[in-house]
C-alpha cells in the first residue's frame, strides 16, 4: 500500500463528504462517478456508508475503543522519553507462562531504556546497568582473507583500494565492509586459485564475487571461493551463515549453476540466479535454506527438495530434509538488515545469536528459563543494552569477562 494510493483514498473521503453536502462541483462529481464505476466493491462501500446499521455499529465501536484509549496510552507514555529517536525498533516480549490467559505484554520499547531523549541518538552512552559490570560493543565489519599461498590479510571497513592480485582477479577493498573481486584482463591466463574469507564472532562482511554475485557473511562464518568461475559450475563452500544474491552466468547459451556446499557434509544448494539465505551454524539444530526469489535445489545425499520463494528447507543433523512452506523470511533475513528478529524463539536460541554477535559464551547457572521471545532489536546496541531488555523480562544475565552468565 503506497502513500499515493492512500492520498487518493483521502480524496475520495472528501468527495463523498461533498457529495452528501451537495456542495460537490461537476468536475468533482465526475471523479466520484469514475471511482464508483471502477469497482463493484466501491459501489458496495458507497451504499453501505449511508446505511444506519453500519454507521451505528461503527459509532458504538468507536465509543468502546475510545474508552480503552487512555489505558493503552498509559502503557507506552511512561517510556516515551526514554525511547530512542533512531530507527531502533521496540522489542516486544510476550510471556507465555500464564498459558490460559491471553498474552501479557510485559515490555514495550525497552530497547530504548538506555537512551537519553531525542537528539542523542543511537551513539548515546548507555546508563550503567545494575547487574552489568563490563560492557561489550556490538560486532562490526571484520573478517580475514586467506590467500592462495596461505597468507592472511585482516579486513576492516577502514582501508579501501586494491589489496592484492589473486589468479586472474584484482582484490579490491571497497570500504563499508565490502570486498570485491574484479576480473583482471591482463592476467586472463593465470590459473584459478581459491581464497577464503572468514568472519570471527562479532564480525560480518560482504563479498562481490568475480561473476557479479554477492555474498553477505554473518558472524562466525566462512566462504571459500575461486578467484574466477570457469567450467560448467560455480562452486563455493560455506560454513556458518551467508546470504547470497547470485547473478545469472551463461556458458554459451546455458545458465551456469551456482552451488553452495554447506559445512563439512552439510549438503548443498544449487541455483541458477536468485536470492537466498543459508544458515548452517554447527550449534543450531538444523541447516536452514530460505529462498527469497527464484528457485533453488537443496540436497544432501539422496534427499533433495526444490524451493519456491518464501519456503525454507530444514536439514537436521540426522539428514532429514523438511520443507517449511510458509517460512519466516523476515526472521531469517533480519541479520542482513542489521537486526535480530525472534518469533517464538526460546532463550537459548536468542542467546546463541547474541553469543555469535557479541563474541561471548553462554553459561547457565541453573535451569534454562523457559520463555518465548517475540520481536526485533537492532544489532548495533551494546550487549549490556540488550541484556537490560532481557532483564526487564525476568531473565537475569551477567557479563563476566567474555561470558554471559544466565542466573537462575
Amino acid at each position: 500500500m503506497k502513500k499515493r494510493a492512500l492520498h487518493a483514498s483521502y480524496q475520495i473521503v472528501e468527495l463523498i463528504r461533498k457529495h452528501l453536502d451537495e456542495s460537490i462541483t461537476p468536475a468533482e462529481n465526475s471523479r466520484l462517478e469514475h471511482w464508483l464505476q471502477a469497482k463493484e466493491a466501491n459501489r458496495i462501500l458507497f451504499r453501505q456508508l449511508a446505511e444506519k446499521e453500519h454507521a451505528g455499529e461503527a459509532i458504538s465501536r468507536f465509543k468502546e475503543i475510545a474508552a480503552e484509549r487512555a489505558a493503552t496510552f498509559e502503557r507506552i507514555s511512561s517510556q516515551l522519553t526514554t525511547l530512542p529517536s533512531s530507527r531502533t525498533r521496540f522489542f516486544l516480549f510476550r510471556h507465555w507462562s500464564y498459558a490460559a490467559a491471553a498474552t501479557v505484554l510485559l515490555c514495550l520499547g525497552a530497547a530504548s531504556l538506555f537512551y537519553f531523549n531525542n537528539s542523542s541518538g543511537p551513539t548515546a552512552r548507555p546508563k550503567p546497568a545494575v547487574t552489568v559490570v563490563t560492557d561489550i560493543p556490538p560486532g562490526g565489519n571484520k573478517a580475514t582473507l586467506t590467500l592462495a599461498n596461505g597468507s592472511v590479510i585482516t579486513l576492516d571497513s577502514l582501508q579501501s583500494g586494491t589489496l592484492v592480485r589473486q589468479g586472474n582477479a584484482a582484490v579490491i577493498q571497497l570500504g563499508n565492509g565490502q570486498l570485491a573481486y574484479k576480473k583482471d584482463a591482463a592476467a586472463r591466463d593465470a590459473p584459478v586459485v581459491y581464497n577464503i574469507i572468514a568472519t570471527p564472532r562479532g564480525g560480518q562482511y560482504q563479498l562481490l564475487l568475480p561473476d557479479g554475485s554477492k555474498a553477505w557473511l554473518n558472524a562466525a562464518s566462512s566462504l571459500r571461493f575461486p578467484t574466477a568461475f570457469t567450467g560448467g559450475k560455480r562452486k563455493v563452500q560455506l560454513t556458518g551463515e551467508g546470504y547470497f544474491e547470485v547473478a545469472p552466468l551463461y556458458t554459451g547459451k546455458k545458465k551456469t549453476p551456482f552451488i553452495v556446499e554447506i559445512g563439512p557434509g552439510g549438503g548443498q544448494v544449487e541455483v541458477l540466479g536468485t536470492h537466498f539465505n543459508v544458515m548452517a551454524y554447527d550449534d543450531e539444530s538444523a541447516v536452514k535454506v530460505t529462498l527469497l526469489t527464484g528457485a533453488v535445489k537443496v540436497s544432501k545425499g539422496l534427499a533433495g527438495a526444490r524451493l519456491t520463494p518464501g519456503q525454507q528447507a530444514q536439514l537436521d543433523k540426522a539428514g532429514q530434509l523438511k520443507v517449511q512452506p510458509q517460512a519466516d523470511v523476515a526472521a531469517a533475513m533480519a541479520w542482513k538488515n542489521g537486526m535480530f528478529q525472534f518469533h517464538s524463539a526460546d532463550l537459548p536460541a536468542v542467546l546463541r545469536q547474541l553469543s555469535r554477535w557479541y563474541d561471548v559464551d553462554v553459561i547457565y547457572k541453573g535451569p534454562v528459563p523457559s520463555r518465548e521471545f517475540e520481536g526485533e532489536i537492532e544489532r548495533n546496541l551494546t550487549l549490556s543494552q540488550v541484556l537490560r531488555i532481557l532483564e526487564k523480562n525476568q531473565v537475569h544475565i551477567k557479563i563476566e569477562g567474555t561470558q554471559m552468565v544466565v542466573m537462575p
Binding site: K52, A58, S85, T103
Partner: protein
C-alpha cells in the same frame, strides 16, 4: 475531546512532534488511535491483537518522529504500518489454522479492501466526533434515536421529557452537527444524520 487538552497554541503540533515533543505525540495518539484500532479490527477481527498492533505502530511512529513533515504523512504511515502488521498477523494465522485456498480467496489481503476500509473508517470517525461534541442532553437523545433507533415517544417516556422537547433536541443536534461540521467542511454529515432521524 480529550486530545484538545493537548493543544499547544505556540507551536503547530507537527513542528513540535518532529522535535520529539511528547505532548505532540500524545495529540496524534489521541487523534488517530481510535480510527486506527477500528481499521485494524476490520482487517483481523481480533480485538486484543488489534490493540497490540496499533500500540506497536505508535511506538514506531514515535521512534521516527523526526521524519514527518505533515499530519497526512503521519496518518498514512500509521495506516500503512497497521495494515502491514495485520497482514503479517493473518499470514501467521494462516499457517496455524487455515487452508491455502481460503487464503487465496481472502479479500482482506487485497490492497483495495484496505483502502476501502480506510475510507469507511475516516468517514465514520468524522461523524462520531461530530456527535461526541454535542451537548450532553442533546447527544443522549440523538444517540437514542440514531443508535438505538428509539421512537420519539419512547425517548420522551424514558427521559421523562415531553415529546416536543425530544423533537427540539433532535433538531438542535442536527443544527449543531451541521454547524460543527460546516467548519470542517463536514456539513454532509448533518444532512446525513438528518436522513436517519427524520422518519
Amino acid at each position: 475531546m480529550m486530545y484538545q487538552e493537548f493543544h499547544d497554541g505556540n507551536m503547530p503540533h507537527i513542528a513540535a512532534f518532529r522535535k520529539g515533543n511528547t505532548t505532540a505525540f500524545s495529540h496524534y495518539y489521541h487523534l488517530f488511535y481510535v480510527p486506527l484500532r477500528y481499521f485494524a479490527e476490520q482487517l483481523i477481527k481480533d480485538k486484543a491483537a488489534s490493540d497490540d498492533i496499533v500500540t506497536n505502530v505508535f511506538i514506531k511512529l514515535w521512534q521516527k518522529h523526526a521524519n514527518f513533515s505533515s499530519e497526512e504523512r503521519i496518518k498514512s504511515f500509521l495506516y500503512i504500518c497497521t495494515r502491514n502488521a495485520c497482514l503479517d498477523f493473518i499470514k501467521h494465522q494462516r499457517i496455524a489454522r487455515r487452508s491455502e485456498q481460503e487464503i487465496a480467496d481472502n479479500t482482506v489481503l487485497q490492497e483495495d479492501f484496505a483502502l476501502n476500509q480506510i475510507i469507511r473508517t475516516e468517514l465514520y470517525w468524522h461523524l462520531y466526533n461530530a456527535i461526541e461534541q454535542l451537548p450532553v442532553e442533546c447527544r443522549r437523545i440523538f444517540k437514542m434515536s440514531f443508535l438505538e433507533e428509539m421512537k420519539n415517544q419512547e425517548i420522551a417516556d424514558k427521559l421523562s421529557l415531553s415529546i416536543k422537547t425530544v423533537k427540539n433536541q433532535k433538531a438542535r443536534a442536527i443544527v449543531l452537527i451541521r454547524k460543527r461540521l460546516l467548519g470542517e467542511h463536514l456539513a454532509a454529515w448533518a444532512l446525513w444524520c438528518a436522513w436517519f432521524i427524520i422518519p
